[in-house]
């Protein structure tokens, strides 16, 4: 197996980089797998990776209708943090955070996880109450966090307008030093490469068009390119397409798929070295290692599968950014795009059994699932391996929308991220 290292790079440069091995194979699918993962986004690939590596289930296929990591994984603003309010979600996101912290080494692939810290700004008294509540909860859950006042915020990000002249002056912030960003594509590729190395078949450009269900039990999937492929268990990890897939399996989910947009500035010299988010003014930004400001917009109000949203959403975001960072007024916006996010009424994911036996769904991450990628994959893999939900996934059952045990994270989820 080809290991990556600086030395390897040197060696390959001597042979004009002609001898690099493929990062993953391009296999023709087998007739049957132990587990089929539908959806080759970060979560699906992470699930496959942990299934094979940690749980020893290697007869696994990931079926992706487009290119690996081309869904929301390709288009998110890459913010990683674990400062969620309720125990259930805090534990899940912190589980992911711990995995992030060793991920590049584990995968032998540099996902450029950059723990540059994240500020969630407060602009009203209620914001500050919520921040205080969340940070207190985080600390008792073993998650790093601090409550900062406006002066401390301004020391961390001097270019932020922390003056009283602002329409909504910054009153303070929560600060999670271990939070940060990662290179989204590399995360998908690193997990894909890792999964492939452990024998997982990655089937790209192949759409799962239906489930094969016998007596209420899923026994495989239909595909547009390779026909039927059998499986003992199927994990559906298709983010924005979850409702579409659920409909094929004959049930509804408490989800709606909405456009979520983002945009980048032209690359500029490093000027913003933390993640800054504001629920109230409603914008957030970080600067990528390439220099572009990566800016997340709000979610559009309607169901949309176009991977694009409405223009006013972009406008409001840009207003917020200029309001927060007046010096960016003359910087220019390069590109905007959209993803399709599956939003859940309580802003928490669904990691769950379904009305169909052996069919599991991992979805509903909405505007904020990138940060959970390794954790989500890890607990989902554990669940698929056993056929029983991992204890961390247990509270995220889709059936909580029947019994009422919701985990409302709107406050912590706040602006889309």
């Amino acid at each position: 197996m080809q290991q990556y290292s600086g030395f390897g790079l040197l060696k390959h440069s001597l042979s004009h980089h002609e001898n690099w091995q493929r990062v993953w194979r391009n296999p023709t699918p087998k007739k049957k797998y132990d587990v089929i993962i539908v959806g080759g986004g970060g979560h699906g690939l992470a699930t496959a990776y942990y299934l094979a590596k940690q749980f020893g289930v290697t007869n696994v296929a990931v079926i992706e209708k487009g290119y690996l990591g081309g869904g929301n994984t390709a288009r998110n603003t890459t913010i990683v943090r674990s400062n969620y309010l309720w125990d259930e979600s805090a534990h899940l996101y912190e589980h992911a955070m711990k995995l992030w912290e060793g991920l590049s080494q584990d995968l032998n692939y540099n996902v450029m996880f950059s723990q540059r810290g994240c500020l969630n700004l407060g602009h009203t008294l209620q914001d500050m109450r919520d921040i205080e509540r969340r940070v207190n909860a985080n600390r008792l859950n073993g998650i790093d966090g601090e409550v900062l006042d406006a002066k401390q915020v301004s020391e961390i990000v001097p270019i932020l307008d922390c003056s009283d002249n602002a329409r909504y002056p910054v009153m303070g912030a929560s600060w999670q030093p271990r939070a940060g960003v990662a290179r989204h594509d590399a995360v998908a590729w690193g997990f894909a490469r890792g999964a492939d190395m452990h024998g997982v078949d990655l089937i790209q450009q192949t759409e799962v068009t239906d489930f094969i269900i016998e007596d209420g039990t899923v026994v495989g999937v239909k595909t547009d390119r390779y026909g039927d492929i059998k499986a003992d268990r199927v994990g559906c990890v298709v983010a924005g397409h979850s409702s579409v897939m659920a409909a094929k399996a004959g049930f509804e989910l408490p989800l709606e798929s909405h456009p979520l947009q983002a945009l980048v500035s032209e690359p500029i010299k490093p000027i913003l070295d933390t993640v800054v988010m504001s629920n109230h003014v409603h914008g957030y930004a970080s600067q990528s290692d390439k220099g572009d400001l990566v800016i997340g917009a709000g979610i559009d109000s309607y169901v949309g599968y176009g991977q694009r949203g409405s223009y006013p959403t972009i406008e409001h975001t840009v207003q917020a950014i200029v309001e927060m960072f007046p010096i960016f007024s003359r910087v220019r916006m390069n590109r905007q795009w959209g993803g399709i996010v599956d939003t859940c009424p309580d802003a928490c994911p669904i990691i769950s059994k379904t009305p169909v036996k052996n069919l599991f769904f991992n979805c509903g991450w909405g505007t904020g699932g990138f940060k959970a990628t390794p954790g989500s994959g890890n607990v989902f893999a554990a669940s698929l391996a056993k056929g029983e939900m991992h204890e961390m996934a247990e509270p995220f059952s889709m059936f909580r929308f029947h019994n009422g045990a919701l985990i409302d994270e709107h406050g912590a989820a706040g602006v889309a991220h």
């Binding site: 579409v244 989910l253 169901v303 409405s310 029947h402």
Partner: protein, 94 residues
Amino acid sequence: MFYIYCPYCGEHREEEEFHNHGQAHIERPADPDSCTDEEWGNYMFFRKSPKGLHHEIWDHVAGCRKFFNVTRDTVTYEIKEVYKMGEQPKVVAE
């Protein structure tokens, strides 16, 4: 950005004047008290989110403040028809 025909104002207006209220034709159960948790949960939370034709409610909030239904393609974003509350769609998925 959508340009939506308001059936009450009788002209097209910009999306910014409207509010999306999600899936249309969800009726509140006539007798909630006899619903099971599952039925009630389905009513409150479980939704169609089709890729293709979708019937949804919009509200002309900044205009006449009336709610109405829209049939829209969720991929191309084309609006196929608008119709008033209480009416049924003419354009429906196969």
